[in-house]
Symmetry: C2
């Protein structure tokens, strides 16, 4: 990256392309003041901003002390400096370190140079659009929305009944980081609300509700190298636990008898099962949304009478047991009184425990900024009640709900801590496991995230899709989620097979479940979910054909374990995600850049999930530069073309590179013969 000094300004360039230009007539830096309103309803935020002042910092004075370039930025010649920008050159980029001299400034905008055909990815885990160009993306962790498309009935009803319909940019995991097709990434160091605007032809405008400490710009010669650097910067995940490769994780949530009965059915059906995941291990309660969990994180014997001995028995059979936790404790649980007495909860304006409504039940928010509360939750709950009890992992749910009106022990405003909360939640889970020395054997999966979650969160899951094929909340959205979060260094991503959210008459059918299971076999974790309303939604154990289908796909998953482990090596060594956009290995093929419903599973498998109902064939694009072999028929096709293949149940459109070192493994994939 080059820094070119101009009269009263400067320019940053990478690979000969301008990245940032600042001069009096074309300023890049703007500051101002605004007053926001932010209303939260059960994790959904209505946010409005009122900008009272926004001024370009047109006047720059540069000084160079040999070590770094320092730039004072003013609104006009007679002005005091509003900001000082210290540019530190890196081998592959630059750090722009910012210091504000005006404490009233709470809005900041910076423009990066854009080109008309440039593409941009990242922004955390984005469900609707992989390429962010042409839209703006508010970056604020929240519920992702139910439906996420104002033209659908489910979205409309979710908005009306629960203020929960959401929009294309809502996500559990935002991150103020993007990757450009100019082969650089940009990261803004902030946890405040931000909005990255990629709608303009000439510039990207990044808005932050503070003057951020740093803007980091780094480039690389290839996307693989770029992801390597991103991942080295934010941290890398541990390898997957060995047991996970054994097969599907069965989500069962109707108590012990149900769990054991369905597990037996699975095993009798020659299903490859790695674990059962019983999120109701700590008990349940009934609400109008469906059966909800009882948020008091310890074994509830009424629902799982023999769990204390059962876990070891299952493990003997090669089946692990997974549970569930989140960072809240319900007021009617056993832990609440202790935590309240010790002052471990976030507080309200009156200094009392802040009570949060989660939908017909109330909870306290454990204040992770309080070292004692953090330690207590980690030891007393995560370690003693969960790891020591025998759980091999859990869904570490939520993290995106920190209310903005609570008070925290560290004195930082909840608005500033809100986006950081998923990181704190990831950290406490990772530490609990690491301190027990079990990082290689106990895992957890999260939907919430923010900058740095890469370092702690073992695995992402895509959150609560609707149980349908819908464009903005159905099966196809988890591909965009995997690709966007993957580029930012989250190597492991998966989703609930069949989706989760079933509301307003929208229920899962067998076709959706099959198509989702077919995709899930080509993700790092294959895991089912009974949904929020198990009785209304089809399950794999409801129909023998569905059981056989899932068993088949689980054997495909298990068969690929050696390959998936090799992908784990790449993730550990270079941060390369398991699921990859096509252009990551095909930079010269322009067609690859616009595809967000296919992915490479490692370098050698191309996966094109069927994401529409009623399809018996599927059309997809094969990247140029290789020949591709259809996994089920062995037919070989040249890359660089669209092809249509038959896509019966059990044979999802998946291809391997003809020149792969793994061809023997791919050629011997379990066939669904006789099943259909």
């Amino acid at each position: 990256m080059n820094i070119i000094l101009l009269d009263n300004g400067f320019r940053l360039e990478a690979n000969g392309q301008p990245l940032l230009h600042h001069s009096p007539d074309q300023p890049a830096f703007f500051v101002g003041t605004g007053r926001e309103t932010m209303d939260m309803y059960r994790g959904n935020f209505a946010i409005e901003d009122y900008v009272e002042a926004r001024t370009a910092l047109t006047h720059a004075r540069l000084s160079d002390d040999g070590n770094s370039i320092s730039i004072d930025l003013r609104r006009h010649p007679g002005d005091e400096p509003q900001l000082t920008l210290r540019v530190r050159e890196l081998a592959d980029g630059a750090e722009l370190n910012l210091e504000s001299h005006n404490s009233t400034l709470n809005r900041f905008w910076v423009r990066l140079t854009a080109s008309a055909d440039e593409k941009v990815w990242g922004g955390g885990e984005q469900m609707s659009y992989f390429n962010l160009r042409g839209r703006h993306f508010p970056l604020w962790t929240s519920e992702p929305g139910v439906g996420r498309d104002k033209s659908t009935y489910v979205t409309w009803q979710s908005d009306v009944v629960n203020k929960a319909g959401g929009d294309y940019y809502h996500t559990n995991y935002p991150q103020p980081t993007f990757v450009s097709s100019q082969r650089y990434f940009c990261h803004v160091d902030t946890t405040c609300y931000a909005d990255f605007d990629f709608r303009n032809a000439e510039f990207h405008e990044l808005q932050v509700w503070e003057v951020p400490a740093q803007i980091l710009l780094r480039s690389a010669p290839t996307y693989i190298d770029l992801v390597d650097r991103i991942s080295a910067h934010f941290g890398r995940q541990p390898r997957l636990p060995e047991w996970q490769y054994n097969g599907v994780v069965l989500g069962l949530k109707r108590g012990e008898v149900h769990a054991l009965e369905k597990l037996q059915l699975a095993l009798d059906s020659d299903m490859a099962v790695s674990a059962i995941w019983c999120e109701d291990w700590a008990g349940v309660r009934e609400t109008s949304f469906g059966t909800r969990l009882f948020w008091d994180w310890k074994w509830q014997p009424e629902r799982y009478p023999s769990l204390d001995s059962l876990i070891a028995e299952l493990q003997q059979k090669g089946v692990r047991f997974l549970g569930y936790a989140n960072p809240y404790l319900c007021v009617d649980g056993d832990f609440f009184p202790t935590a309240e007495q010790q002052g471990y909860f976030a507080t309200n304006d009156a200094g009392e425990t802040a009570i949060v409504d989660f939908g017909e039940f109330e909870c306290g928010v454990v204040d992770f900024t309080n070292p004692e509360a953090y330690q207590w939750f980690k030891e007393r709950i995560l370690q003693q009640e969960m790891i020591d009890f025998g759980l091999s992992g859990w869904m570490a749910d939520f993290g995106e709900y920190l209310p903005i009106d609570v008070h925290l022990h560290n004195g930082v405003s909840a608005r500033e801590e809100h986006n950081r909360w998923p990181l704190r939640w990831a950290q406490i889970n990772a530490e609990a496991i690491a301190e027990r020395g079990r990082t290689d054997d106990v895992t957890f999966f999260m939907r919430a995230g923010y900058t740095g979650v890469q370092r702690y969160c073992a695995q992402l899951w895509a959150g609560d899709q609707s149980v349908d094929f819908s464009r903005h909340d159905g099966l196809v959205t988890v591909i965009s989620a995997a690709l966007s979060s993957g580029l930012l260094g989250n190597a492991y991503h998966h989703s609930d097979i069949g989706g989760y959210t079933s509301l307003f008459g929208n229920t899962r059918d067998a076709e959706l479940f099959r198509r989702w299971a077919e995709m899930a076999a080509f993700t790092p974790m294959m895991r089912t979910h009974e949904s929020n309303r198990p009785a209304d939604n089809v399950q794999w154990f409801d129909e023998p054909e569905l059981t056989r289908h899932l068993a088949h796909m689980s054997r495909v998953y298990r068969h690929l374990a050696p390959y998936l482990k090799a992908l784990g090596d790449a993730a550990a060594e270079r941060g390369t995600p398991v699921q990859r956009p096509l252009f990551l290995h095909h930079e010269d093929d322009s067609r690859c850049y616009d595809i967000q419903d296919q992915y490479l599973y490692g370098p050698d498998l191309l996966v094109a999930p069927v994401h529409e109902a009623g399809r018996t064939d599927w059309t997809l694009y094969l990247p140029a530069g290789a020949d591709w072999v259809h996994c089920w028929t062995g037919e070989r096709h040249a890359g660089g073309q669209d092809i249509t293949v038959s896509a019966p149940f059990g044979q999802p459109p998946v291809f391997y590179r003809a020149d792969s070192a793994w061809t023997e493994l791919f050629r011997t994939l379990p066939q669904p013969e006789g099943l259909y």
Copy 2:
């Protein structure tokens, strides 16, 4: 009003209350630049703004030449003046005349001092909220929306199918003028997009997408006086034509046989009929929205074979004939080729006639900024085809649709002309009538409006309500519409009896029609409409009971003619609207300020329309300071209390002041005896 000079600033006060304060630490004036996107779809606009700069003009330099005070406003001490403000004192206020010195400025904000309990009204014709406080109001003439409430099915479907659902602030008639409970009014002289924001406790912020020429602030000791001054400023309507007092205007739109048959039924039913209004006099076409009119403004003999002789025959019987026109001409009509050949239409970027889609048919927009086109349309169509043909009036529909991407003869941008278009449309109608010397006998009614429409538009009608009791698009909204537009000097307001828009399965029932007719008898024009889908919606001629009900209400209307004429005198002399908010005559009764579902009909009648389904009684508030007599029972009640009265069909909750000079008239109102 007082002007107090401060160090580097000034303050305006009225009645001892601060109206505007400008000083370096508390500036009132802001300027900046923005880039808007405005997408129109059939009169519905999606508008977004991107503000690139907004700066307070903190530095003021004052000079006083004895005649006026001149103030140069700068962003900072070293700045060139951005604006010059010339303050001209008036006996009751001040003119703030503005001159911009920076041609790049296209955003302007001014803050007026607000107090916490202040109320604000006006903003044109506002359907959802009479008191504007607590919300912001974009001021841009457009379709008002179908449903206007994101929680309703009709709104959702309208948004999805037609981008037409709308919101609380959408209106055919916006106006950048408001009235404050501090007893002043403020008018901003602009036709550009504006947004008046009344959400802040300490200030009202008025945004305009240009530096407006003038801000006018005038106060008065009473609201009646204030409306007088507003009305004197914007202009006053002519008196109603004498024939209008004779009874209901029957909207009939299925050709001549239908019109004559239903008229006969009405007359046989002892209905007081002043006119039939046949909007299909120029022909129809079928679309998926329903039967639409043929937009070629002249008699269509196929649909009304004997209309040329019929009009005179009807007039002999005391029944007038009304038609319909709007400012567009359909491409398949007779007038289009002539107008196109003469260059009378607005043009597109290629210099060709701009073709506008009105929903499955296309039209040209007559360019009223072209004096020849204006003259041609006035003479050839409005005068020759309509007045000379014998029409006694017409619905002068539309006016709010000027597309923003057309080019106009006067060279002014369509964005600047858009809001002015309703005024041009009103003017051409008024002039056509005046030039024929028929202002006292021929009338027209419009839904669109803007500043100054008061001077030309004879009567407003409330536009296209949904055929229901809904909060934001039903019966109750036309009361807010009448009160808000009335305060700005529009004395005459009415609505389609039974509403108009019937979409997505929403259809009119008999109860709604009755309740609407009951209200309409207490408005200046009582007029029915068959709706956009006549066959799907109940009509007064469908059921003998409905016919009798309408006949009764029409006799009530006719009975009140002497009183309505007296209200017309007040309108002509002082601009006092016929329908009045309760506080206009009860300034000291604080309860009167929060009521938007009742009105005073003149000083002496209190009308509280039943605007919910299934009601047999109704609760309302009687203003303090008078006793009130129930029109149907003669029961007398003290003012200053809520009361509940029986409200059977035909006896709407209406009361007269016990001390009225018109008690004899009110006591002898036609009773609905025997009808129900």
